[in-house]
Subunit: 198 residues, 2 copies
């Protein structure tokens, strides 16, 4: 998605260790117009997949997910990273390791909001090693929910998450595919090559 | 806001200790259409307040805040409850106690996204004892940002947060004002009385 690639080039910064920081429009400050464009893109791409629910994980997946949910006319459920007193028992829970934060989080989704009637679209802000997506796959399996697709805002194509999703056979749409962050420069997967592969 | 009151009556549940659980449309599963209606209501109410930024706290304030931001044409900044490796130093930080979760969180906002040129609308999902709003007031003061107003989705009018905001002199709009949760029944502040008081 050219709009998103342009914004990443213009506003993203690259930290030591291959961390792409997009705090000015996605991970801390949110650009609502951009989020609507991203959400609409996911909704259009997965319009015919029979989706009745969107699944994401707090926090940064929520904004694009709600715009996609609005356009598809379906609710959004977000996995919680910490249990609270108002959300106990009756949960599907899985452990997810974050390489960026170097900690494990429990991700929990209430059994009230995910079951075997659900056909979900998973949306998340980043796909790197695939830990969060794998956690949501695991929760969907526990719930008996089917997964119609995965929508990612920014994929780090040089890490293993993309392959993990492809090997599962579940359709994936990543709106920006980062091929490399070497030399503190963002290089995107060549679009011609991408089309040829899909 | 009658739409919201109706949804709370229909879908909210009341736990021991006066906890109003609205997990089916706001705090865990999100209803995007409702969130758009809430965000539009905030945007309309504060359209003439010269707002250039919306401030909220992760997680449940984000959905109504992005819709308000979309309509007002301004970015949304959300306070982070946990520091991550990609957000270090250069932060305004304050400690906020959550009665519901019975824990204190650090709320942090990057100095890159809040400064003395900003005139902010604070949006949050709940106002009870006012801890989160007080934390955001404190961060705005540190940043030299002015606060144009406070928009709350659900106010527990029988707790002290409302009075705290009113005493600050900052305009507040709460879309649903819960007068009581006694006998496990939601009673809203009488609208006639509310109009007379404002």
């Amino acid at each position: 998605m050219k709009l998103l690639e342009d914004v990443i080039r213009e506003k993203g910064t690259i930290l030591e260790g291959g961390v792409l920081k997009v705090d000015s429009f996605l991970n801390h400050q949110i650009d609502p117009e951009l989020m609507k464009a991203l959400g609409d893109e996911f909704a259009d791409a997965f319009a015919d997949y029979g989706i009745n629910k969107i699944l994401t994980v707090e926090t940064s997946g929520i904004a694009p997910a709600v715009f996609a949910g609005l356009k598809l006319g379906v609710p959004v459920v977000f996995g919680r990273k910490n249990k609270s007193l108002t959300l106990q028992d009756n949960m599907y829970t899985t452990s997810v390791y974050s390489y960026t934060k170097q900690t494990s989080n429990e991700i929990s989704i209430s059994k009230d909001f995910l079951n075997s009637d659900d056909r979900v679209l998973i949306i998340d802000d980043f796909l790197a090693n695939g830990q969060a997506v794998a956690g949501l796959f695991s929760i969907c399996k526990s719930a008996g929910a089917s997964i119609a697709g995965v929508g990612i805002v920014i994929e780090k194509s040089f890490q293993k998450g993309r392959r993990f999703v492809e090997e599962s056979g579940i359709p994936i749409l990543s709106l920006a595919r980062v091929a490399s962050l070497d030399d503190r420069t963002v290089t995107f997967v060549d679009e011609t090559k991408e089309d040829a592969n899909e």
